[in-house]
Symmetry: C2
Subunit: 113 residues, 2 copies
DNA sequence: CCCTAATTTCTATTTTTATCGAAATGTCAT
DNA sequence: ATGACATTTCGATAAAAATAGAAATTAGGG
């Protein structure tokens, strides 16, 4: 992961509404949520929510998919993992300090886990 | 961890110089680094560095300690872990997706690990 | 004590970000 | 095609953050 991407991702998360939004999607899992339901859950006007969704999407932290009339958003777990790994890279000057996190979901299911 | 703290911490990390600075300290380990050495490593003017150090410190991500004439800064690993845990809390709608990260160092060494 | 070194605070300027109403877009149902 | 719904884009305003020089602070060495 490049520094620029990490800064962008962190910046996307560094805001009340967006942090709440991202965590909502993280907790919602692979199924995701439509924009309208998110707006209701957060109590943010549509236009504002749309702005924040775009920020998170630009940062690569969430994914968008159309389903009928709604746009469904879901967390990009690999991106989240990459960000956390970047933050903790080469942690602790070589001291043994536990494995890096990973959040694997059925759809992703690579070799590991 | 409260939402406010998380936003503050993420905001502190969402900036080129500060992200580089934090990662530098994360990698430096418990020994930490004096402000001057950090300024050299990052090529940032003292006054700017001081500003950024204060941001990270306010966010609780780094710790300060005086040693002779220098101020030594080091990463606050528990704070980093708490932030990551907050981000990933109740991840994946109950799907099994690996344990939360932890970065433990000799000085911290609590019950776990 | 005084001098030097390390770092921070002050101040002013520029750049970036958040907010939300109103209008535009795109999608489906009839 | 027409109407209704879900969501985004536009535009203007208000608020927050980054930058760096110069002055002030703090601690140690002689």
């Amino acid at each position: 992961m490049k520094s620029e991407n990490a800064v962008e991702a962190l910046g996307a998360l560094a805001q009340d509404h967006r942090l709440a939004l991202f965590r909502l999607l993280v907790q919602a899992g692979e199924r995701g949520m439509p924009a309208g339901a998110i707006a209701d859950a957060l109590g943010v006007p549509n236009s504002s929510l749309s702005f924040h969704l775009a920020q998170l999407r630009n940062a690569g932290l969430i994914l968008q998919e159309r389903q009928h009339r709604s746009l469904i958003y879901r967390a990009n777990y690999p991106a989240m993992n990459a960000l956390v790994d970047y933050l903790m890279e080469n942690c602790c000057a070589g001291a043994d300090c536990g494995p890096a996190t990973a959040c694997e979901t059925p759809t992703q299911e690579r070799k590991s886990a």
